[in-house]
Amino acid sequence: MSTPQQTMPSGIDPGTLAQVEREAQKRIRQRNALVIGLRIAVLVFVLGGWELSARLHWIDPFFFSMPSAIFDQIVEWFVDGTSQGPLLTQVWVTLEETILGFLIGSAGGIFCGIVLGRNKLLSDVFSIYIKIANSIPRVVLGSVFVIALGLGMASKVALAVVMVFFVVFANAFQGVREADRYMIANAQILGASRRQVTTSVVIPSALSWILASLHVSFGFALVGAVVGEFLGSKQGIGLLISTAQGAFNASGVFAAMIVLAVVALAADYLLTAVEQRLLKWRPTAN
């Protein structure tokens, strides 16, 4: 029989454990460094390969541009402004349309999703129409909006709203439907009115669904705004792209694409921060 007083076998005594921990942490750091290094290598390889093949005329830089030309284009837009005015104004116009469309579309989607999700009859009646509306390629509506609402901001906002609404609506609706039936019964027995059940059980439990949809739908709002500008506008990044396209300026198209990507990434970062704040009750996904 072994007794607790016995000396610990080598391998699990404190000194060895500390050393094992140090070695393990060192390995973790080395691995992280390796991942970052490889990422940079991939980037250099792709951009360098592109640049090199364009310069050696393996691909035609007139059609496919090259990283240095794209960079020059962005710098030029920044310093001298675009043909439609300063670059930041263009970014701001597109961003404004996107944000307005995103806010209106998601508010409408959340509201309709919750109302229909809580009312069986309404949802049975309208679900078929929503399915139909959802199956129409909504980008086409952009043309209608340009005709009806003109070349100004309204037509782009309308297109962004339509793009966002259905995604958010579908998720809010599903989220409401998935609200745990025991939790609802529990709230009712604890004394909650129908309204209190909606605000304190149904909406919080739908929130993770809704927030997940907001991530995707910001991208959709951006697509809506840009396509709207594409179809006819006086300002914005979409117009910048269509002007560059008209002038066979491939660098311009790529440069505008990069500007859009930066905007989208920044928005995604913000939304993630909001989401983490609102869903701090959830266990961390590990």
Binding site: Y182, M183, A187, G191, A192, S200, P204, W281
Partner: protein, 262 residues
Amino acid sequence: MNQSNQPAIELRHVSCRFISPDGKATVALRDFSMSVAKGEFVAIVGPTGCGKSTTLSMITGLLKPTTGEVRVMGQPVDGIDPRIGFVFQADAVFPWRSVLDNVAAGPLYRGRSKSAAYDEAQSWLRRVGLDKFGKHYPHQLSGGMRKRVALAQTFINKPEILLMDEPFSALDMQTRTLMQDELLQLWSANAGSVVFVTHDLEEAIALADRVFVLTARPATLKKVYEIDLPRPRITSEIRYHPRFIEISRDIWHDLREEVQIG
């Protein structure tokens, strides 16, 4: 009418059928009668899926009986009675609310002021031994602790009738025994009537004054057993009482036939 002799809960020749979404009817409960006195602890056991939970849903008013009558405190059931508390089998605490907010939910729903509700919630947390966990979220607690939150959440409304639907079935054996003792303590302080649905025969005998045994589906009453074990009981010790073993053998004899049919 004599208030003190009036039963807290009365089910008179109750039957209940369900219509499924595709229009098929099933009978869950057939001609079931039961009466629970004030302050009495009643357990219902029966084979799985026989309709035990259906009886509870009818007492709360979440479900209406097809025939027969359900009375609570002498009145026919009409909607959810505020004097009723319910502890569910599943985790029904709200995961997005902290433990303290969960316990305060009942008084807040019922229109109490925030400060009064939170004061009371704090004192209930102390009674279930969770006063250090008020700011935690449910997912940070163990299953037993979440059940304590559920108990505090229910008891804070001071229910005169407490309905429990296999509340401890998801817990491990040791935690379950602790929770049973905790429940007996809370009940003796609260002095309400309890209807406790379980498939665990020993749990029913250890806790209840009377055990109702149901038949396989469509369920009806098979037999009622008086549990004449002394109170206060400690559930971990009462299991070895000779009378406990005798009763559980008798009931199991009845129940086995039904489980085999089911």
